[in-house]
């Protein structure tokens, strides 16, 4: 039997990709984004550098390996009724998954608060102060009283089932290079657990990060291209870092990116760890939604009465004639049940482009994994580009359903107890395809694609935290904090420009919060800010890329280095040779470093005395006819002894002068 299916999945993928007008991001223009109505906003999460966690006295910032734990606690999350007597959509989804949640606890970083066996202690004052400072920098209106509320999370990432969070400021703005981005609010909240694994019905978390203070800066959906989005994310990150009171390093800053296209839905891309991933991810998400709108149109054309649409399903016996398939045999031999599903009118939909390398069928597969807890591979379908299932099997299935050529088919398999949820999940996702882009949060990958993570919770899942009292913020105190603020990032940016510091150093300087060092070294020691800025943005960056950082190295060591050079009366260029030593051995003293690099103090005259001899030697060895050949060669010969003793620019000048009169 040959495959009589009318759609060539490979061709269909390419054609639908073209039809929706997908373009690579590198080639995408502002017009492309206007065409699809790209719109996005940010929720920027930033851990604060505090000694303790937000609501208990456990230390913050200590992390453990997955297997480094003292005890385990098991919990289940149940949905709770909202004030309207309804269950939240996410809550119900999580409940359907019937997850057993295990928390691994290490005594160093957890107490009874982490496992929800003690009510919260007083909010950490250090965290509150940092959050307040950053709110003031974002020109937010500070609340008169901090109210702690509960935001429900039923995925188990927080053992209480809710995150304690408090709004510190509302309605502010950020000045980007070409526009102003409005801020909705800044909240202070507790960080969640880190997931170790999520297999079948068991999800394992560790509680080291749980409860660490975090601020969340939320923007309006004011960004209309992926690049604007990235710029806003960078700006907020730099602003946070400019206080010097936030954590840096992997996982300390994470972005949730909200994206929609015209006619689409707000979809939240969760926990983007690197800002450089933002453009690709948001680009693909907007086009995924754009593709889903095309799928909707296609379905409305192919299905006569969408409101009556129903899928058909039946268990299949793998031994029955025509259905034998090695691939399925494997699932059956593990005691799993196999179900065939007919999707009326879905021809050409399953292989419809959604994201680079992904099709509509993936939307179903992702949900089967998350909601029905069926580990991949969990399904096969009639429009696979590389069929895992024997095409004859689908032929036989079509016959059994007496399917129309416009129908598409799925086979799913899993343990009997998960099948009802799995069937419900497939039908639910297919029905949604007729109406809307589903509201969901999606997990992100480095390649710019995303997968379903969970149903996006409704707006009404914030509840007052009955365990804590409001904290009044005194006006005088707020004003006192306002006076101590560092200057704004945008002002710093202008200053660097004014000082002629090369633009290619700015990102490095802001991302490591080096601006205060640059300006203080220049100020205190009288070096040109341009030199110091370049020293950080070029020299230090180079050293970082080529040497291993000693665990004790701090950026302040560079300041010490220049103080030493200044005190010794050395010329500033020697810092470049000394830096790799400081970077790799910050604990040895600077005199020793001078010895290591074979520095010898020499008077200017002693160095210059050698010039006539070198000029003569150049005559003998000359192998460069270039205009600067002579000067460069002699500079090279004297570089080592001159470094630290005579400014190199002076030396160059001297060489050029002596040339005239050797």
């Amino acid at each position: 039997m040959e495959n009589v299916h009318p759609v060539d999945p490979r061709k269909n993928y390419q054609q639908t990709r073209q039809k929706i007008g997908y373009v690579n991001r590198k080639k995408a223009t502002r017009e492309d984004y206007e065409r699809i109505g790209f719109k996005s906003g940010l929720e920027v999460h930033q851990q604060l550098k505090t000694k303790e966690k937000l609501f208990c006295h456990c230390p913050a910032g200590i992390y453990h390996d997955d297997d480094d734990y003292d005890a385990e606690v098991v919990r289940h999350m149940r949905p709770t009724l909202s004030e309207l007597g309804e269950y939240d959509g996410t809550a119900l989804m999580e409940y359907k998954t019937r997850k057993q949640i295990i928390y691994r606890i290490n005594n160093t970083t957890a107490c009874t608060y982490e496992i929800d066996d003690t009510p919260p202690f007083r909010m950490d004052q250090q965290a509150l102060e940092i959050a307040l400072d950053i709110s003031l920098q974002c020109k937010l209106n500070i609340v008169g009283e901090v109210h702690i509320t509960r935001k429900q999370y039923l995925d188990g990432s927080i053992p209480t089932g809710f995150q304690r969070t408090a709004i510190i400021g509302v309605e502010g703005e950020l000045p980007l290079s070409n526009k102003t981005v409005r801020l909705i609010q800044l909240s202070l909240e507790e960080d969640s657990c880190r997931e170790i694994s999520d297999i079948r019905h068991t999800r394992v978390f560790k509680t080291d990060r749980l409860g660490m203070p975090l601020i969340e800066t939320v923007t309006y959906p004011d960004m209309f291209t992926p690049d604007e989005l990235r710029e806003a994310a960078e700006y907020i990150r730099f602003l946070n870092r400019s206080t010097g009171k936030v954590r840096t390093g992997i996982g300390s800053g994470r972005e949730d990116v909200n994206v929609s296209c015209r006619g689409g839905t707000r979809v939240e891309l969760k926990g983007v760890a690197h800002n450089k991933w933002i453009p690709e991810l948001s680009h693909n998400e907007a086009f995924r939604q754009w593709a889903l709108l095309f799928i909707k149109e296609q379905l409305l054309r192919q299905v006569d009465r969408p409101e009556n649409w129903q899928m058909e399903h039946r268990e299949i016996d793998i031994q029955a004639p025509g259905l034998h398939d090695e691939w399925l045999q494997q699932a059956a031999s593990q005691g799993e049940k196999i179900y065939a599903i007919n999707l009326p009118g879905f021809d050409g939909v399953l292989s419809h482009f959604t994201q680079p390398g992904k099709v509509f069928a993936d939307e179903i597969e992702d949900r089967l994994k998350v909601i029905a807890c069926l580990e991949r591979p969990n399904m096969s379908h009639s429009e696979e580009q590389e069929p895992a299932t024997n095409p004859n099997t689908f032929h036989a299935i079509r016959e059994r359903f007496t399917a129309d050529p416009r129908d598409a088919q799925l086979i799913i398999w899993g343990p009997q107890e998960d099948i009802p949820t799995a069937l419900e999940t497939v039908e639910e996702r297919c029905r949604m395809a007729f109406h809307e882009v589903p509201r969901e949060t999606r997990k992100t990958f480095a390649d710019g694609t995303t997968i379903f993570e969970r149903v996006l919770p409704g707006p009404d899942r914030m509840y007052p935290d009955t365990d804590s009292a409001p904290i009044p913020l005194d006006k005088k105190y707020i004003e006192e904090r306002r006076r101590q603020l560092p200057e704004e990032i945008i002002e710093r940016y202008h200053k660097l420009q004014e000082w002629n510091v090369p633009e290619d150093t700015y990102h490095y300087i802001f991302s490591k919060d080096l601006y205060p060092l640059v300006s203080s070294i220049a100020d205190k020691l009288g070096y040109q800010a341009r030199f110091i800025g370049t020293f950080f943005g070029h020299t230090l960056k180079f050293v970082e890329g080529h040497h291993t950082r000693h665990k004790d190295f701090q950026y302040a060591h560079v300041c010490d280095l220049f103080e030493f050079i200044n005190r010794k009366g050395l010329k500033k260029e020697i810092a470049k040779r000394m830096l790799p030593w400081v970077y790799t051995n910050p604990n040895i003293d600077f005199e020793q470093i001078l010895a290591n690099i074979h520095y010898k103090p020499m008077k200017k005259e002693e160095i210059l005395k050698q010039l006539p001899r070198l000029h003569r030697k150049f005559e003998q060895v000359r192998h460069s006819a270039s205009a600067n050949g002579r000067t460069d060669w002699i500079m090279g010969q004297l570089h080592h002894s001159a470094l630290g003793n005579i400014p190199l620019s002076d030396l160059r000048e001297e060489i050029e002068q002596k040339k005239v009169n050797p």
């Binding site: 003292d70 606690v73 004030e83 005594n107 066996d117 209480t160 509840y463 009955t466």
Partner: protein, 363 residues
């Protein structure tokens, strides 16, 4: 089966308008919140009162005991009482004394986290208690609460040997001076103690709803002054339970006041503030002196249980010997003949072998 609501965190929900926790109590509401209950038993509910457990008192004990008596006469197969946790153990011992010889399980249950929280222990505690009331063979007054803090199994504690031991932990209730009666899961009760009173078909329950309110507990501390005792006597107190130090001691300066109290007809019983172990008043002279003064050692009765029992006994008689007989004749293990060697196993964190054990089992 019958579920009595008395208030407290269990079987209540948050009123989002006022922020208060209010009882959510119709069977419909309960089945809505905990659908599993429908598979376990056939439940009718009745709100007896709605008070926080710290406001429970003799009047409520008596009302509850009578209501239970009626239900048993009417043929009920099991009783659940939803209750605040703070004084759950006081009510449990009061019901043990007031409802004697029950033919069916009487299960008191509470929760440490209200049901408006996703990680609440309310649902699982309700499931465990419903299973116990509906299916267990143990016809006693019991407290059903979390064994470990994990959502794994519950303990059934004898109403007279149980105590709330942590202000916020889920597994706050512990059996003191003994091992728990049984463990319970969603579909099984596994007795730890074999000598429980089994379920019966007869309806021969004895309701003894008495209580004398002029009874108190005196928690001894160093340098206690005799005027405290004098004041109690002068204010008309009929009974005093002392929680003494160590084996049951108080300091010498209060002796004259104690003598005066006994002479004025006050009934004084000695318990230990160590909670674990027996009163032994023969070991030191102090103890002997105190007995000479008329203090009566209450063996290994927990101070709160002794308080409830003395109130209950004095509600029936003031006769010194009668009261003593009531007090020292155990009704359901409030005094035990012996303490099992493994009763006092307070697993102390920090000890390597205990840490090893904890690492292997869900806390």
């Amino acid at each position: 089966m019958k579920l009595f609501g008395t208030g407290g965190t269990i079987a209540s929900r948050l009123d989002y308008r006022t922020g208060a926790v209010i009882p959510a109590f119709s069977p419909g509401e309960l089945y809505g919140a905990v659908p599993e209950l429908a598979d376990i038993c056939n439940l009718t509910t009745e709100k007896v009162f709605a008070v926080f457990s710290e406001n429970m008192g003799p009047q409520q004990y008596i009302q509850l005991a009578r209501a239970i008596g009626e239900e048993i006469e009417n043929g009920i197969q099991g009783i659940i009482i939803g209750h605040g946790t703070d004084t759950l153990h006081h009510t449990a011992s009061a019901l043990t004394f007031m409802v004697q010889n029950p033919p069916v399980p009487i299960v008191l249950v509470g929760s440490q986290r209200s049901s408006d929280r996703p990680s609440s222990d309310a649902a699982l505690n309700l499931i465990h208690s419903a299973y116990t009331a509906g299916h267990s063979d143990i016809a006693e007054v019991m407290v059903c609460m979390f064994g470990p803090t994990s959502d794994e199994y519950g303990f059934l504690h004898r109403g007279t040997r149980v105590r709330k031991m942590h202000s916020s932990y889920r597994s706050t209730f512990r059996t003191i001076g003994d091992v728990p009666l049984a463990t319970v899961t969603r579909d099984k009760v596994s007795p730890i103690k074999q000598n429980y009173k089994p379920r019966r078909q007869d309806r021969q329950v004895k309701i003894l709803p008495y209580f004398e309110e002029k009874v108190t507990i005196l928690y001894y501390y160093p340098n206690m002054q005799p005027d405290i005792i004098d004041a109690l006597v002068d204010r008309g107190y009929k009974g005093i339970v002392i929680a003494g130090t160590g084996l049951g001691h108080v300091n010498k300066p209060v002796y004259p006041a104690l003598r005066r109290a006994v002479e004025k007809g006050v009934h004084i019983y000695m318990t230990v503030q160590t909670l674990w172990g027996y009163v032994h008043m023969f070991v030191y002279d102090t103890g002997r002196d105190l007995m000479d003064l008329g203090m009566i050692p209450a063996e290994n009765m927990l101070p709160e249980v002794a308080y409830i029992k003395l109130g209950w006994a004095l509600g029936q008689t003031y006769d010194r010997e009668e009261v003593k007989k009531l007090m020292l004749t155990p009704i359901n293990d409030e005094i035990t003949e012996k303490e099992p060697y493994n009763g006092y196993l307070v697993y102390q964190g920090g000890v390597p072998e205990v840490e090893e054990f904890i690492r292997k089992h869900h806390k």
